[in-house]
């Protein structure tokens, strides 16, 4: 997030797109609810009539995968109506003239033909956001899990840059991160393109730094992403070490994923349960869980916080860091002689400029949001206040692209996937918490009543849902949350493996899977 969570109560106009925040980030959503109660206007763009849509002042029910078109249409209106922030554009950005030229063709009427959202509503949304003193954008995987995830994010940046809604209280571009330390995993350098602290592996200065720090030659080019690695399993990738990820259920195209992991010569999984992924491993190493592990995590607003152990682990379970050190030491690798987490985190701080002012003791009270470049620095709750990392904000002349697969005679219904309030990811945790079943005992497919009739299904009965990659059986639930022609299911339940169907395509830059769009066919069972 460019802005801190406390800023969520402060915007005049809030634009939520592709975020089901009341279910996926419920505590963050309380901030938005307070802003709305205070009088802020809420615009919600989502294919489904989610909880946020119900409380919005303007709901834009766009077709799945058409976000770029909607955002181009909004940019067009903001420019046409003279709602641009000329000072901000002049002083902080580059490329606006070309962008202005580019968006002149993408009218709201054109956007209506792609998105299905009435042009007048696109205009209203643009007028509201463009006129706001403090306009804030919030998004989640509904923006990024597309083949055009990068263009979607760039389109949001365009809106914020042209209106100057960056670097001030109650503004910004705010992605909500989905896991308690997914931000920290990236910060720590578990990325094929970045060393710790998002230092590009292709930068000679960074290469020299890590060559010295790690005492060995390093590859000068980027590594491959997990998506590519899974494609190359059995071909050029032959061994994997997976820490705490149920790849088999969480990733798209389960059959492909299972085949990939099975074709490895050697798979080592570190986890707290024998997950579907761990069941495929040659060696499974038991890790300590949350509540048993001392460590550090970083939240969606870049706040670096301590996690603390409260109870001893079961049996012989060991902390992840200990396990990795043991493997590394036995392979003769240097720099793994740790016997507690504190010096590991302190080493991360030393090699990472965004954590340079931090250490284990300084984060005791959760006060710091990175970047914290030195020990006297108070942290950075709000990014981009004076300048952007690369100097100026860059406008991107994006084009709308169709999803990897579009509906056809064979697969005439859009499936979009996501999460639910009561369950978390693949239910390795919530599935083992007593009482959750009372609220959500099973998965069901949310189908508009008109579609139930059209495909000759019945509410509460099972149906067969097929995509180009496979089919599953799933119970039908009639609801107006789903618009006609679009159905929804979560991927949380192992007995309804929705990710058997997904996997139509990937964003070419980030390799994020298009989990939000999958044409399917529905048939009664």
């Amino acid at each position: 997030m460019s802005n801190p969570l406390v800023d969520m109560q402060k915007p005049d106009v809030i634009f939520c797109i592709g975020t089901n925040m009341t279910e996926c980030h419920p505590v963050a959503a309380t901030g938005l609810k307070k802003a709305v109660a205070r009088g802020a206007k809420l615009i919600v763009a989502d294919p489904r009539r989610i909880g946020l849509a119900e409380m919005s002042h303007l709901y834009l029910p766009l077709r799945v995968g058409s976000d770029t078109a909607l955002l181009l249409g909004m940019a067009h209106v903001i420019a046409r109506e003279g709602l641009i922030n000329e000072d901000f554009i002049e002083n902080r950005t580059t490329g606006f003239d070309a962008f202005f030229e580019h968006i002149s063709q993408w009218t709201p009427e054109w956007a209506e033909t792609i998105t299905g959202v009435p042009a007048k509503d696109i205009e209203t949304a643009a007028m509201w956001y463009g006129s706001a003193n403090k306009g804030a954008i919030y998004y989640t995987l509904g923006i990024t899990e597309h083949i055009c995830g990068v263009e979607n994010v760039q389109s949001l940046c365009n809106l914020a840059l042209m209106t100057g809604n960056v670097g001030r209280e109650g503004t910004g571009i705010n992605p909500m991160r989905g896991q308690n330390n997914i931000q920290g995993a990236g910060d720590s350098g578990a990325l094929p393109n970045n060393y710790p602290g998002f230092q590009a592996v292709t930068d000679p200065a960074h290469q020299a730094k890590f060559k010295a720090a790690y005492g060995r030659e390093v590859d000068l080019e980027k590594g491959i992403t997990k998506v590519t690695a899974l494609e190359l399993c059995g071909d050029s990738i032959h061994a994997m070490l997976i820490d705490g990820e149920n790849t088999l259920l969480s990733d798209p195209d389960r059959a492909h994923c299972e085949h990939a992991l099975r074709s490895l010569a050697h798979l080592v999984v570190i986890d707290i349960f024998l997950t579907e992924t761990a069941e495929l491993a040659d060696v499974v190493l038991p890790a300590t869980a949350w509540g048993e592990t001392d460590g550090v995590c970083t939240n969606t607003e870049r706040r670096v916080q301590r996690m603390r152990a409260a109870v001893p682990p079961p049996g012989e379970a060991k902390p992840d860091w200990w396990i990795i050190c043991q493997i590394a030491q036995r392979l003769g690798f240097k720099g793994f002689d740790f016997d507690e987490p504190k010096p590991i985190f302190n080493e991360l701080c030393r090699v990472s400029p965004i954590y340079a002012g931090l250490d284990w003791d300084r984060i005791e009270n959760s006060e710091y949001q990175w970047p914290v470049p030195h020990k006297e620095h108070p942290g950075t709750p709000r990014l981009h206040e004076e300048t952007f990392v690369n100097g100026r904000g860059i406008f991107s002349n994006v084009h709308y692209r169709d999803p990897a697969e579009t509906i056809s005679e064979d697969f005439p219904v859009w499936l979009t996937t996501g999460r639910r309030l009561q369950s978390y990811h693949t239910r390795t945790q919530t599935g083992r918490a007593q009482g959750i079943d009372y609220l959500l005992p099973e998965e069901s497919l949310e189908v508009n009543p008109a579609d139930i009739e059209r495909w000759e299904l019945a509410d509460g009965e099972w149906c067969k849902m097929s995509s180009a990659r496979g089919s599953i059986n799933i119970k039908v639930k009639a609801t107006n949350r789903s618009p006609r022609g679009t159905v929804f299911a979560s991927f949380s339940f192992a007995d309804v493996p929705v990710n058997l169907l997904t996997g139509s395509g990937y964003d070419p830059i980030t390799h994020t899977a298009e989990l939000k769009v999958c044409p399917v066919r529905l048939e009664p069972l």
Partner: protein, 357 residues
């Protein structure tokens, strides 16, 4: 803008907008409250926070009265304390019991604490108890023991103001006041999301944490140990306290001063903690045997097997044949060492985390 006022004979500064209660609390005045939760709008329901205000005919509720320049306030005169004691006696007399398990909720001991402070034995005022328990609500999380309800409305207000859910409200008035949902039904059939905020703000334990109360016998009336940490679920990073007794996790309290959540939690963070000590947990390493099955193994054997596989693949296929996937759930030390393992061990950038799917 700062102004001056007088509290208990001492001149103090305050900023515009502060209430008398807020100013007094900043100056360590222990004014009793029951309907007050600093996260919520002032309510003025319980009247325990009354103070003497010079120029006012009657005592005023300090939680709803804004400080103004030149005010002269006395927080603890004999008259005020007598009023407070009488009010508390009446409140206590309406409840079936006052001493409740600390597992019921974060604030559940507030009434008992005040009863002890004012040395009330409950004998001066006796009579009917108020509130009707919702015994047919079989939800596994929220106990609705309204015989302990004192109509402070903190639950109703936290649901509306903090959560924005408006799932519960007030039915009837006076002695027959009852907290309820639409159509007096089950929480499950209301707008309730089971975030547990009502449990945690309730000052009497009328609303209780049913899951935590399973450990009531072990815990007794001792306060469980608390360990401050961060919720294991989404990326918001809510601060929580894990409650433990005899090395068992018995419940979760929200951390009221958590920078990301300011006391708020959701159903997962509040109630979905017992996966940690679930019997399905892996408690020993497993190694795939020649029979194709996973078997329990010692750490020595498992680590040897893990190392042997990496060494063999590295020798046969080279360093670009080995890949690491770090967790978005484990702490940063794990992610840092995963990337270091790949970068130091094999000199490649063949490392990723689970953020792409």
């Amino acid at each position: 803008m700062t102004h001056k006022m007088e509290i208990d004979g001492v001149e103090v500064a305050f900023t515009e907008g502060e209430t008398i209660l807020e100013v007094a609390q900043r100056h360590q005045k222990e004014i009793p409250t029951l309907c007050y939760d600093p996260r919520l709008e002032p309510f003025g329901g319980c009247r325990l926070c009354i103070v003497e205000l010079e120029g006012a005919r009657n005592p005023v509720a300090s939680c709803t009265t804004k400080a103004t320049p030149g005010m002269v306030v006395r927080t603890s005169t004999d008259t005020i304390e007598a009023y407070r004691k009488t009010l508390l006696e009446m409140v206590v007399s309406e409840n079936r019991e006052v001493d409740v398990s600390p597992l019921r909720g974060y604030a559940s001991g507030e009434l008992a604490t005040l009863r002890d402070r004012y040395e009330i034995n409950g004998s001066r005022i006796t009579g009917t108890t108020s509130g009707t328990n919702k015994t047919d609500d079989d939800n596994p999380f929220i106990l609705r023991d309204y015989e302990l309800c004192i109509s402070c409305y903190r639950c109703v207000r936290v649901c509306a103001e903090q959560e924005g859910d408006h799932a519960i409200n007030v039915m009837n008035r006076g002695f027959h006041t009852q907290i309820t949902t639409e159509f007096d039904g089950l929480l499950k059939d209301s707008a309730c999301t089971f975030c547990g905020q009502c449990i945690q703000t309730c000052p009497t334990g009328a609303l209780g944490d049913k899951k935590a109360l399973r450990a009531a016998d072990q815990v007794g009336d001792t306060v469980p140990e608390k360990t401050r940490t961060i919720c294991p679920y989404c990326g918001v990073g809510c601060s929580v306290d894990i409650l433990t007794k005899n090395e068992k996790i018995v419940g979760i309290h929200p951390a009221m001063e958590g920078p990301a959540n300011q006391g708020a939690l959701c159903v997962k963070g509040q109630f979905a903690y017992d996966f940690v000590q679930h019997p399905d947990r892996l408690n020993t390493p497993l190694v795939r045997g020649n029979d194709g099955e996973l078997h329990e193994a010692t750490w020595e054997d498992a680590l040897d097997k893990a190392v042997e596989g990496f060494r063999k693949v590295n020798a046969e296929h080279g360093r670009h044949s080995i890949y690491g996937i770090a967790s978005g759930r484990a702490p940063s030390e794990a992610a840092y060492l995963m990337q270091k393992f790949i970068r130091v061990g094999f000199g490649t950038n063949y490392i990723d985390n689970c953020s792409r799917a």
